[in-house]
Symmetry: C2
Subunit: 307 residues, 2 copies
Amino acid sequence: MSSAIKVFAPATVANVGPGFDILGLALEGIGDEIEMSLSDAGGIEIRMPGSNLPTDPKANVAGVAIQALLDELGSSQGIRMIIYKKVLPGSGLGSSASSAAGAVFAANELLNSPFSKQELVQFAMAGEAASSGKAHADNVAPSLLGGFTLVRSYEPLDVVNLSYPSDLTVVVVHPQIEVKTSDSKKILKKDISMETAIAQWGNVAGLISGLATSDYGLIGRSLQDVIVEPVRSMLIPGFDQLKQAAADKGALGCSISGSGPSVFALCNDPVSANKVGSIFRQIYQDLDIEHYVHVSKINEEGAKVLI
Amino acid sequence: MSSAIKVFAPATVANVGPGFDILGLALEGIGDEIEMSLSDAGGIEIRMPGSNLPTDPKANVAGVAIQALLDELGSSQGIRMIIYKKVLPGSGLGSSASSAAGAVFAANELLNSPFSKQELVQFAMAGEAASSGKAHADNVAPSLLGGFTLVRSYEPLDVVNLSYPSDLTVVVVHPQIEVKTSDSKKILKKDISMETAIAQWGNVAGLISGLATSDYGLIGRSLQDVIVEPVRSMLIPGFDQLKQAAADKGALGCSISGSGPSVFALCNDPVSANKVGSIFRQIYQDLDIEHYVHVSKINEEGAKVLI
């Protein structure tokens, strides 16, 4: 049992077009880093340099997630951690999920891996519930497992690693305005028409099939969200411009990352992805909005040990 | 240009669990047969021995479908056909789709194939619209193209051939009570809760992924329809018994074929499929309901020339 560890858990894009509440993918090169050690003092102690998020373990997603893991083990092991937030809260890139996933992954490693990564999803979800009021897995699953994930069901929890073409490249842009997940949930309707739902699951089916068979044309035609995007995109300045520009530059599709305000585009290679990234940057420069652009492949590994 | 032809167009299972209005598959060994010839007399002449369906071409799905094809060509070519109905109307096995698909396929062959099978889908849909009041493609697409098909979108029409494991075997049982498609549509709600819709598209995603990767466990877990089956199954005598028996005999899943009353089960090999077929037969014998059981692989070819 090593007594100290440093881990990385990637930022994630949830929903991914038509896959509201079920699909997510992990990003390379952006994610939270967590240093963790076991402590004889008992309790969970959290430090988050440069962040004003709560460090009380009962109010912190990482604290709540680790407590769920310890409860399952019937353990009162003390834990100390320092969370280096690299994924900005309220970005729509799975900030709280990245902390929750990294924390349970690190604790599991320090405790000699009593759980598989799949099993860790439920504990990270408990952390997410503390943040958003509902236990979602569409960000924590890809942050832990990497790749492109499907949360097929919650009762029982069933997380599936999807097949996808290895050249698939993701562009995300985060306009630095804050949209709280809870606000963003409120503007969604509780009921939808059967007709709209059918259109949505037609696109979900097309997307999964296109990913599994590397059919980029089908992926592109299927990256349509007819339910959530039309409502939430109103909260994102320049959204229509970004979407048009992504199409013009050859992206397969473009939609909202998680509950926004970040916007993602999927591309079939890094060259077109870089062009899309440049035009996204240009659009927010012209709108005079602070922004951050990230271009990467899908992270295949998920949460990992750094040192 | 040959002047006479005989074709076969398979019966089909539409919806296939969670895929309401978007998924369908073709059956081997059961379907309508159509003899067709070109005629100098002009007009469309239809005979249907042993059937009491309308033979007026304006009121017959095959007649309407062929007229749509001729209209697209700007042709006033006369057509004569004899339709041998093997798929019983009102069975939920795509009876009208089989006639419409076979008719446009045969006419296209006689006219030197101006259209691809994919292009024929739209004409067969026009026939379906005459039958059910709405132009659906989830039966005509698999009847024409064979295999397991996805109708991703109607505007524009986008039909996708899905990947599926070649051992997949289908059991269908048709209890010979009539449920009209139009009645069966009426009992569905126009709105559904977002929560239910999310559960449905999670299962759609799992099913497509399981089919593409031959993950039978995932196919089985995903063959759940939480929206339509709970309502329509009330119209099918013995449905709960069939479903339980299918699970007991090792079927991957079991649900309603099309709008019923036929029920299908998917199995991972012919041995378990035959066991499921036997128990289905037993259940309807015990209930004293006339029935027909069919066990087959998925038909890979779709509509084809017999002679």
